[in-house]
């Protein structure tokens, strides 16, 4: 980000990207009932166009819009760099996919003028979108705070759309924990203004200096945002929030809402205070990500319900998003660098957003068709719902990072950064993590392909559009790696090679075999054969479940939050900047 304080020719696109969803939301609220879905459809089409135009404009030059002509530090500037434009485009595509999926799922029932849940869903979908765009284009820390809070307020009601007691409880837990995080962030904002008299990110980057105040601020803001992102061990709110939410709402929460606060961490670490970060602090952030991958994947294998399996897989995938932080730290200059690792992290966010949305939709369709989503009773689903199970499988492959998925490309970029930075230990996490992802994908697919004990009775006929929108998002994630051959993406050459060459095929096979072994060892019910060894591995699995239950208790989670804040502060203070 450069400190340009002038509105650029295409700067109005940024204002349009933020305002359009909110205008759509308000028009939808006034029109009400059946019209809300139509208003949303129009807003989504227009928003896709704006996102495409922004991406096109940003390829030439970063875009800036100075609100009201008041230049920072007194005024507020909206800025879109490549990072923001790419995220805006991904979010627009995922929102469009979710909108298509929900066309029938969240339609107002016939014979009723207006139903609460569908109306709320369409309005909140637009609100989430507008808030995310605001987070992406905000140029100062306080506007980011407002965007972040709007995102939380739009995300929380999505959890309790059906209004049952347990979903209300989950929504309240989410809101209260997120509020704790936002106050820590806001405290950081106030402290930084007190010290530097500006909140503009581009200006801050030039004046900010390491010191007790900036260490404290960065530690407070980072953990506040991690609580909202649900990075292990602060994932207290995520699994219950997904347990009772409709599939489309889960897709919004998991694919999009958590990316908002993640993006803010990226802005803080890379753009606002790149030189305050230390090697050790970046290692801690990446380390939390690595533990999240292992922990989330193992607990996912222990779930009885498909929806919760996908929710825990989200916890693991959130871990992946933080692996780029230690790899982007440049030891020579002692600062965070924009480079291959950041591009890799961004690609990971894009591929996770598309794949996870597709996966939640597939899980929702399976639930709708069977009337339940017990993993043990999925036998025969693959034959009854081939398109849906294919969507789930493709989304799983995309998450595992099989060629030519976006996650594969991201892995290549991060491996390159690990090698050039001499941080070999992240290579193990990057290569081994895929096996954990493969574990739960293999588990679901083997269950789905088994013959059912009795002929499968489908409760309802699925909408073709819903099935194919899930499939389209999964395919998109799986083909995102093709971006490497687009010259405009600016990626180094030679990232994509022949998928059937032994060098590529062998790791893929190893990953699948590792996943199979994990699923066989840790699944709730034996996958293939039972034996005394299963007793041992099942006990290990149970202990992971117990640890998860303990970590998700309120006092444990809040103490973990404070401990992490202290740890980040300490590592920023003592960390080795050389």
């Amino acid at each position: 980000m450069t400190a340009v304080a002038m509105t650029t020719p295409h700067g109005w696109l940024l204002v349009a990207a933020v305002l359009l969803p909110f205008i759509g939301m308000m028009v939808g609220l006034v029109a009400g009932g059946r019209h809300a879905a139509r208003v949303a459809a129009v807003a989504i089409i227009a928003g896709l166009a704006i996102a495409a135009a922004t991406l096109h404009a940003v390829l030439d030059a970063p875009q800036v819009y100075v609100l009201g002509g008041w230049a920072p530090p007194l005024g507020v500037a909206l800025r879109a760099d490549g990072l923001a434009a790419a995220m805006m485009a991904v979010v627009a595509v995922v929102i469009a996919g979710i909108g298509l999926y929900a066309r029938r799922d969240s339609a107002t029932p016939p014979g009723v003028a207006e139903a609460r849940a569908p109306l709320a869903f369409w309005l909140l979908l637009l609100a989430v979108w507008g808030s995310l765009n605001l987070v992406f284009v905000s140029g100062d820390l306080f506007t980011l705070y407002v965007g972040l809070e709007l995102l939380t307020f739009a995300g929380v009601p999505l959890v309790c759309l059906d209004g049952r007691g347990e979903t209300l409880r989950a929504a309240l837990r989410y809101l209260l924990f997120a509020l704790l995080g936002s106050l820590l962030y806001l405290l950081g904002v106030v402290l930084i203004y007190g010290a530097y008299a500006t909140l503009d990110i581009a200006m801050l980057a030039q004046v900010v200096r390491p010191g007790v105040l900036t260490w404290t601020v960065l530690a407070l803001m980072t953990v506040g945002l991690l609580a909202k992102t649900a990075l292990f061990p602060l994932h207290i709110w995520l699994p219950p929030a997904h347990a009772g939410a409709p599939a489309a709402a889960s897709a919004v929460l998991s694919a999009l809402v958590v990316k908002g606060s993640w993006f803010l961490v990226v802005r803080l670490w890379f753009d606002a205070m790149p030189a305050v970060v230390t090697f050790d602090a970046a290692q801690l952030l990446g380390g939390l990500g690595a533990v999240a991958i292992v922990f989330g994947s193992i607990v996912a294998l222990r779930q009885k319900r498909l929806k919760l399996l996908v929710a825990y897989s989200t916890i693991a995938q959130i871990g992946y998003l933080f692996l780029m932080f230690p790899l982007a730290f440049d030891v020579a200059t002692g600062a965070m660098l924009h480079g291959g690792a950041l591009t890799g992290g961004l690609l990971q966010a894009a591929s996770h957003a598309t794949a996870k949305a597709g996966m939640f939709m597939a899980a929702g369709l399976i639930y709708a068709a069977l009337g339940h989503d017990r993993i043990a009773d999925l036998g025969g689903v693959a034959r009854a719902l081939p398109v849906t199970v294919l969507a789930f499988a493709l989304a799983g492959l995309a998450l595992m990072g099989v060629l030519p998925s976006g996650a594969y490309l991201a892995k290549k970029l991060l491996l390159g950064a690990a090698e050039s930075g001499g941080q070999w230990w992240w290579t193990i996490v990057l290569q081994g993590g895929a096996a954990f992802t493969a574990g739960y994908v293999v588990l679901v697919l083997t269950r789905a392909m088994r013959a059912p004990p009795a002929p499968l009775q489908l409760v309802t006929k699925l909408s073709r559009i819903s099935e194919f929108s899930a499939l389209a998002l999964a395919l998109l994630s799986l083909l995102l790696g093709v971006a490497a051959v687009v010259p405009a993406a600016g990626l180094p050459a030679g990232l994509i090679s022949n998928p059937f060459a032994p060098k590529e095929l062998l790791p893929t096979l190893l990953v699948v075999a590792g996943g199979f072994a994990l699923a066989a060892a840790l699944a709730r019910r034996p996958l293939c054969g039972d034996g005394p060894w299963r007793r041992l591995t099942a006990a290990a699995g149970t202990s992971f479940e117990n640890a998860d239950a303990l970590l998700r208790r309120w006092p444990t989670a809040s103490l973990a939050l404070i401990t992490l804040a202290a740890a980040f502060g300490w590592l920023l203070h003592t960390g080795n900047p050389a």
Binding site: P73, L74, F142, Y145, V146, E149, T152, F153, V156, P157, C160, G163, R164, G165, E166, L168, R169, A171, L172, R173, L175, L176, L179, L180, S182, L183, L186, L187, V189, V190, L191, Y193, G194, A197, P240, K304, R374, A376, R524, R552, W554, P555, S558, L559, I562
Partner: protein, 107 residues
């Protein structure tokens, strides 16, 4: 002791009290109150910073004042949303405990 320092110390006290309440109180309504106390501390802090940055004939720097007013609006909306959820939860479930019910064992 300047008035900005006094306000700053009072703000620290409020933030500490609120943080403790948010962590230690199991009842959601008390957590909401604690959130507001902690928020009050942060806003008071912004006020202290505004006072410290006073100049050019102003009683205080206007930017932190603008921040804290916006912050109060956001905290008010958050409180309204949280209270609405608590009321609805009480109406539907008959209690407002945040504890998760034990998972149904249908294995």
């Amino acid at each position: 002791m300047t008035d900005a320092l006094l306000y700053g110390l009072a703000a620290c006290g409020l933030i500490g009290l609120g943080l403790y309440g948010l962590i230690a109180n199991p009842a959601p309504l008390r957590k909401i109150l604690a959130f507001n106390i902690m928020g009050g501390g942060v806003f008071l802090f912004a006020g202290a910073i505004a006072r410290r940055g006073a100049g050019a004939g102003f009683g205080g720097d206007p930017v932190p004042q603008a921040l804290l007013i916006t912050g109060i609006v956001v905290a008010f909306s958050a409180t309204a949303l949280a209270v609405a959820l608590v009321l609805r939860l009480n109406a539907v479930a008959g209690d407002t405990s945040l504890a998760e019910p034990p998972p149904a064992d249908d294995d």
